[in-house]
Subunit: 218 residues, 2 copies
């Protein structure tokens, strides 16, 4: 099989989600760790416009950039091995809608938390969002284990890969996002997704997150 | 055929791109004009999370929101009539990458232009971006008429529907974005796309844009 390379850093949720899907689809790949403080020539040549990771490189193909685009690409080249999007167009649209929501509304609150003066206000916003995500989970999972139903799907990947950072911020800012009382279904889901074999080895440990956090704050 | 409704406003490029694809795919629809200063109950019930247009409503289906997601949805329900995405996964990924780029980097500069104190700086940025888009056009079109080649494709829709606003800002701020010297290929493309039969009747006239602009500035 032709070699696939993934340029990224182990601490990035956006990179982790690509790794998760590569594992789900049993696609072998070589991980190339990037130093974002000093980006490699390969990174700059592969994504000259955004200069961002993740980047997927496949022989004789142009580089594929941006996590959600890479995931759609992997789904298209390997549609039969662990499909992560449902077959029905309206269900696919709903998955994409909530993925955008998580990326553009939920995740940015954590960035806000790092810089905010009024941290309690941001924490309250995150808690409110987590309760909305609980409702989304209840609808999508329909009593089953994952957003994707019986199997890990698109939103399990998108939200699941962010859990390392969720826990990091919970500890640092002394609060809990997905808890047994407010978001009981998601609290169970967190345990389930973190023990999934395709994500084990992908989720970064706390020391890696701390290094990344300190570099970003500089 | 079951009825399709589109909630939007005639002045929105994001709504226009859905109309363009509906026309390309010969899908009949009923347009429901929204007053964004006083959003309808139907809008709020259909997209309670973002409260934004465009929204596509199809009988017995959940509402589909966000322009790029709606376009993918239309492509999936009518894949054989005027496909706008190419069949090869890496080409599809490239289309999605540049659509995101246009939405997240190019369009926001026009918003910046409306509010900026230092307008000349923003104008220079827009000019620089237009030259990058000229390069993208040359690569995608490969000597043919459109980003999509011989036929209107995804990026023709995404960028094409913004041309009403481009011209509006050009006139208001006395500069030219796509011109014969700096961006000769795109300058030709502008004329070609604006005379395409599927976009005629969709592109808003200047008075509609002015009303919208004044409402947004309030």
């Amino acid at each position: 099989m032709e070699e696939i390379k993934l340029l990224g850093t182990a601490a990035s949720s956006f990179v982790n989600r690509v790794q998760f899907v590569l594992n789900l689809k049993s696609i072998e790949y070589k991980f190339i760790e990037e130093n974002l403080a000093c980006k490699s020539d390969l990174l700059l040549a592969s994504n000259p416009v955004l200069k961002k990771i993740p980047i997927l490189l496949k022989a004789n193909e142009p580089p594929i950039c941006e996590s959600l685009i890479i995931i759609e690409y992997l789904e298209e080249i390997k549609p039969d091995i662990h499909p992560i999007l449902p077959p029905k167009p309206s269900d696919r649209a709903k998955n994409r809608f909530w993925a955008n929501y998580i990326d553009n509304k939920f995740f940015p609150l954590y960035l806000e938390l790092s810089y905010a003066h009024e941290r309690e206000i941001v924490k309250d916003k995150i808690i409110k969002e987590s309760q909305l995500l609980e409702e989304v989970f209840v609808k999508f999972s329909n009593g089953k284990a994952y957003f994707g139903g019986d199997e890990v799907g698109y939103l399990d990947v998108v939200l699941g890969c962010f859990l390392g950072w969720t826990k990091f911020h919970e500890k640092r800012h002394d609060f809990k996002v997905f808890d047994e009382v407010r978001t009981p279904k998601l609290a169970e889901w967190v345990k389930r997704i973190l023990s999934h074999k395709a994500i084990t080895g992908v989720m970064p440990q706390e020391d890696i997150l701390m290094d990344y956090y300190m570099m970003r704050l500089k």
